[in-house]
Amino acid sequence: MELQLSMVDGSVCMKDSAKSEISSERTLYPYVTGTSIIGMKYKDGVILASDTAGSYGSTLRYKSVERIKQVGDHTLIGASGEISDFQEIMRYLDELILYDKMWDDGNSLGPKEVHNYLNRIMYNRRNKFNPLWNSLVLGGVKKGQKYLGTVNMIGTHYEDDHLATGFGNHLARPILRSEWREDLTFEEAVKLIEKCLLVLLYRDRSSINKFQIAKITDEGTTIFPPYALKTFWGFSHFQNPSKGAAGTW
């Protein structure tokens, strides 16, 4: 029995030398996953935020996963879903940016172009029933124009002033819908993001208390080092958890 790499879709499968036929494999379920990404535009540019957890099912297995990365000079990408597929996407995007830079001609791919390129890839994989199991947020600034878009494993894509993936859609977006403004300063934006991240920390069981914020403006990109938020667990309901059933496990 040997492993064979299919040239068609990059899938690897067992080849039985007796039968010498290749069975195609495709993504059926994700293994190591990241949870929500939050993104929003603010006065000078765009902010993306996430935690740094890589879950293995229900186990919080990896605690220092960078889920927000830079793509070229004008774009940031944040990924939730299968981490290995995100790494594959980064390979595609780094190659794309490399070829773009090699032209060296004063033109460059902006966030809108990267978003569309990614959308083509995601939708194409979905049509082959072999998706890259991710929900991605792309944010960037080019020539003063702010851009924030999302694309996911089935190829659905759209832009907005604030976006989230996964649980963030249910927990963070409502907060953003009521409190987001066009002219937030960086400090105000971070406060708003932290409010959302805290809710996610309390209510999303796949999240951990280690967050990363990244911002992109016309001047450039900064991905800040990870840090933790202050949480409060002193609710009366949490005191004496086994009060009503002492002695049981």
Partner: protein, 272 residues
């Protein structure tokens, strides 16, 4: 001296280090009827002489739109030009589809030049016998390029190709340094004047020429004959040539029907 021995196929060098087949292809461009191009920072104009082989025939198309933001004028074997225009359209639309954004003009001309170069290095092919003036607008401004059968490309402020293009080039050489700040109208006028120079005394009418423009807020399109005739009339009414500075006013309105006259032209030497 040795031209005839080394000119049979494109993959044979001459002792002097030349590829004669490629040079012969460039000769075909020189025989085609003239095309001119000029640009400012924000607009680019293309113009071409359109002479029909006979009064019974229609004109050869020499101006092609490749996308909203870029078009070409050709001189030489128009069939080759048509095929290359199709290639340009394909490249533009492929880029738009993947990136939802117009293909930068400089990258388009490199792809075109690479395609032309292939034909200079295969024994079973021949070089394209057409020169292309590519005019377009992208985020770095307006551009004008000339693509050669040799696979070379050059960027220009203004240029002319085809038969009797030297007269146009002489005119453009006197004026090009101000083109960056020229208004859209002045660019069109200078393009028409440059075309007129290639006609060597023959009267310029809107029937004889085609002009197209692309610029900020303006997709590539061919300007209609009536507007062209109005520009021509405006130029002939002023003394000698087109006015220098901002003749910002639009050409005088309705001179009812011009054109129709002045077809005392013989057809140009075969526009191959």
């Amino acid at each position: 001296m040795f031209r005839n021995q080394y000119d049979t196929d494109v993959t044979t060098w001459s002792p002097a280090g030349r590829l004669f087949q490629v040079e012969y292809a460039m000769e075909a461009v020189k025989q085609g009827s003239a095309a001119v191009g000029l640009r400012s920072k924000t607009h680019a104009v293309l113009g071409a002489v359109n002479k029909a082989a006979s009064d019974l025939a229609s004109h050869q198309r020499k101006l092609f739109r490749a996308d909203q933001h870029v078009g070409v004028a050709i001189a030489g074997l128009t069939a080759d030009g048509r095929v290359l225009s199709r290639f340009l359209r394909n490249e533009c639309i492929n880029h738009s589809f993947v990136y939802e954004s117009p293909l930068p003009v400089s990258r388009l001309v490199v792809q075109l030049a690479d395609k032309a170069q292939v034909c200079t290095q295969r024994s079973w092919k021949r070089p394209f016998g057409v020169g292309l003036l590519v005019a377009g607008l992208d985020e770095t401004g307006a551009h004008l390029y000339y693509n050669c059968p040799s696979g070379n490309y050059f960027e220009y402020q203004a240029f002319a190709i085809g038969s009797r293009s030297q007269a146009a080039k002489t005119f453009l050489e006197r004026r090009f340094q101000e083109y960056d700040t020229y208004s859209r109208e002045d660019l069109i006028k200078d393009a028409l004047f440059a075309i007129k120079e290639t006609l060597q005394g023959e009267k310029l009418t809107a029937q004889l020429c085609t002009v197209a423009i692309v610029g900020e807020g303006e997709a590539f399109h061919i300007i209609d004959q009536q507007t062209i005739q109005e520009y021509i009339d405006a130029m002939e009414l002023s003394t000698g040539g087109p006015d220098e500075e901002a003749d910002a006013a639009a050409p005088p309105s309705a001179e009812a029907q011009e054109g129709g006259e002045g077809a005392s032209s013989e057809p140009a030497p075969m526009d191959i």
